[in-house]
């Protein structure tokens, strides 16, 4: 089973959510949510099947991590994201997941034996936690993007709710990113004899961590709310994108297999 079934269900969800926006009928939205949940279940099955075929957690290359990122993002959205008080959250979540899976479809999908450096239980812990962190930041970015787009909130209560949502998801992502960096450092010490070597991937993870730390400090200590915190959050997400993609294609280092 490949993520193709999930991709098809996401397209169905896209049509249904678009219909919700066009017709204003909640039943279209409920059907879209059902399709989204089915897409997540299909992705879960695809990951489990690949895991059993490969004999290791499918997190060893960019394709596998992108599929896992899509799964994490969709899962977090189904758990928390529906509370996001932006216009058509389901539509944006569907589009975002389609983009991630679409990028994955351009990559090499073959199952290859693991190189010695990746033969460790830390592969599952380190990469999965980092991907879930990225998914949380992605969710926060949706709220930030809405705020930065200058959209007016229907009410002050909803504006506060969205701002709190953004803060909470950044906090969750920050904790998970910290855990991911810690796991990676311990693994690096086990494999390479050093917990930190200023490898580009490590350094950009630290940059991402620092940017979000600054964003959280600005909110807590300097009272940055609303669009200002959204801008800080968006800057952090830009670092996430560069850490995940930019480093792989523009810079070289020990994380070459990522």
């Amino acid at each position: 089973m490949t993520p193709n079934l999930s991709f098809a269900l996401l397209l169905v969800s896209l049509i249904l959510y678009s219909g919700r926006e066009a017709t204003g009928r909640p039943s279209w939205g409920r059907a879209g949510l059902a399709a989204l949940a089915a897409a997540w279940a299909a992705l879960t099955a695809a990951i489990v099947v690949r895991w059993s075929q490969a004999g290791y957690a499918p997190l060893s290359n960019q394709y596998e991590s992108l599929v896992f990122l899509a799964w994490s993002f969709l899962g977090l959205y189904l758990l928390f994201g529906r509370e996001l008080p932006v216009r058509a959250p389901g539509l944006w979540a569907t589009l975002a997941t389609l983009v991630v899976l679409g990028l994955g479809s351009l990559l090499d999908k073959s199952v290859r034996p693991l190189v010695p450096a990746l033969q460790s239980n830390w592969l599952l812990l380190h990469v999965s936690v980092c991907m879930i962190a990225y998914a949380a930041f992605f969710l926060s970015f949706l709220a930030a993007a809405w705020a930065l787009a200058g959209r007016d909130w229907p009410s002050r209560a909803l504006e506060l709710s969205a701002e709190e949502f953004s803060y909470q998801t950044v906090s969750l992502g920050f904790l998970l990113l910290t855990l991911g960096i810690v796991f990676g450092s311990v693994w690096a010490n086990e494999a390479w004899g050093t917990y930190w070597s200023w490898d580009p991937k490590e350094t950009w993870s630290l940059i991402t961590w620092l940017v979000y730390a600054v964003a959280l400090h600005l909110r807590q200590a300097q009272g940055w709310r609303g669009r200002r915190f959204a801008a800080a959050s968006a800057a952090g997400f830009a670092c996430v994108v560069f850490t995940y993609f930019g480093v792989n294609y523009l810079l070289t280092g020990l994380h070459a297999y990522a």
């Binding site: 928390f80 509370e83 996001l84 290859r112 034996p113 190189v115 010695p116 450096a117 033969q119 460790s120 830390w122 709190e164 949502f165 909470q168 998801t169 906090s171 969750l172 920050f174 904790l175 910290t178 855990l179 810690v182 450092s185 311990v186 693994w187 010490n189 086990e190 494999a191 390479w192 004899g193 050093t194 917990y195 930190w196 200023w198 580009p200 350094t203 950009w204 630290l206 940059i207 620092l210 940017v211 730390a213 600054v214 400090h217 600005l218 200590a221 300097q222 480093v247 810079l251």
Partner: protein, 366 residues
């Protein structure tokens, strides 16, 4: 705990005179411990880190001049950009951040009871920086290359620099496991027989080409060289893979060498056939060293190590670093002694605990 400002005011109240030295100290402490200072230092650190990823590290100044031009290369070289993360100013920046962190925490110590998570996070970062400082001041690391049966107690730190272990390491056995062996693929074109296909060849195996011809792989040389006694291999590193083939048709036989790296260099077959050779190297599954550690000729430890499974003894850790493809009996080990690791690991544990406390899971409602 009394703040610097409170101390100054108390002294002024007692003496009736302005406490100028105290005022200066108070201002210095306020600046050192301010969130604004943290933001400035963090911004500088972020910029430095980003620059360090775009400029190749570990390069001599001449390499920077070649890459960026003479003027910019000299500027970057002077600034230590070629070895940025070990430069004095980058480490100074880290130290400044550490002081800021400590001062911030001290200044807001009264809030520790209300927000223990925040203080744990700050304490954790200080622990990690302390561990890194210990590493910088007292760690040792280097490479140890051994052939099977050989022993050594010194390791290479850098060019003409060696360190010494408090014990000897003997490599008892070195094994390289492969997922599968190397593969040989031949693209065979025999126009008169109408054959144009890709086949997988194995040494000693005959391949039928239609009804009238066959091909047999006779010999494989990983690193082909013409020696005094004819074709030979320099070593086992597949730098110049070559396959000797026998092409048989109509009762006759032709022998030829095909080269994976030089597809045009093989014996002329008179236009009857053309064979292209593709070599797919074997994928390494794992490589492991079985070692014995000796101190004063007495065996103190025996064990096996491979990638992701190091071996530790007496504060030293041995890691499986690599091997020599041209000599599969030679193993390369990395030896490390880093007394700062326990501090860093403690910092990690406290960091995660502090963040989890700060998140207040029970009240997490997005």
């Amino acid at each position: 705990m009394e703040t610097a400002e409170e101390t100054r005011k108390a002294r002024e109240a007692a003496t009736g005179a302005p406490d100028e030295q105290g005022a200066w100290a108070s201002r210095a402490f306020a600046t050192t411990s301010s969130v604004r200072t943290f933001l400035l230092l963090a911004a500088a650190l972020l910029a430095a880190c980003a620059v360090g990823t775009f400029i190749p590290q570990g390069q001599p100044p001449a390499a920077l001049e070649e890459r960026f031009g003479p003027w910019l290369g000299r500027v970057l070289g002077t600034a230590g950009a070629g070895d940025l993360f070990r430069s004095w100013w980058f480490n100074g920046l880290l130290a400044a951040l550490g002081f800021n962190l400590a001062a911030c925490s001290l200044r807001r110590i009264r809030a520790a009871r209300r927000r223990p998570g925040v203080f744990l996070v700050h304490a954790a970062l200080l622990l990690i920086l302390a561990g890194a400082l210990v590493r910088g001041l007292s760690s040792e690391r280097g490479l140890l290359q051994l052939k099977e049966g050989a022993w050594a107690d010194s390791f290479e730190i850098g060019p003409r620099r060696h360190g010494f272990l408090p014990f000897r390491v003997r490599l008892d056995r070195f094994v390289v496991d492969h997922w599968e062996g190397a593969a040989h693929y031949l693209q065979v074109r025999v126009p008169i027989l109408g054959i144009d296909s890709v086949v997988r060849a194995k040494v000693g195996e005959r391949l039928r080409l239609g009804d009238d011809a066959e091909l047999e792989a006779l010999r494989f040389l990983p690193n082909f060289v013409l020696g005094p006694r004819g074709p030979d291999t320099r070593d086992q590193d597949p730098a110049n893979p070559a396959l000797e083939l026998a092409y048989r048709r109509g009762g006759g036989e032709r022998r030829l060498w095909t080269f994976a790296r030089f597809p045009d260099m093989h014996q002329d077959m008179g236009g009857e056939a053309r064979i292209l050779y593709q070599f797919v190297p074997s994928r390494v599954r794992q490589f492991r060293s079985q070692v014995t550690l000796l101190r004063d000729e007495v065996e103190v430890k025996r064990g096996s190590l491979h990638v992701n499974q190091p071996l530790s003894h007496a504060g030293w850790t041995l890691y499986q670093f690599g091997f020599d493809r041209s000599d599969p009996t030679r193993s390369t080990l990395l030896v490390v002694r880093d007394p700062g690791v326990p501090l860093v690991y403690a910092g990690f544990a406290v960091l995660v605990a502090g963040l989890a406390l700060n998140l207040r899971w029970g009240r997490f409602r997005p």
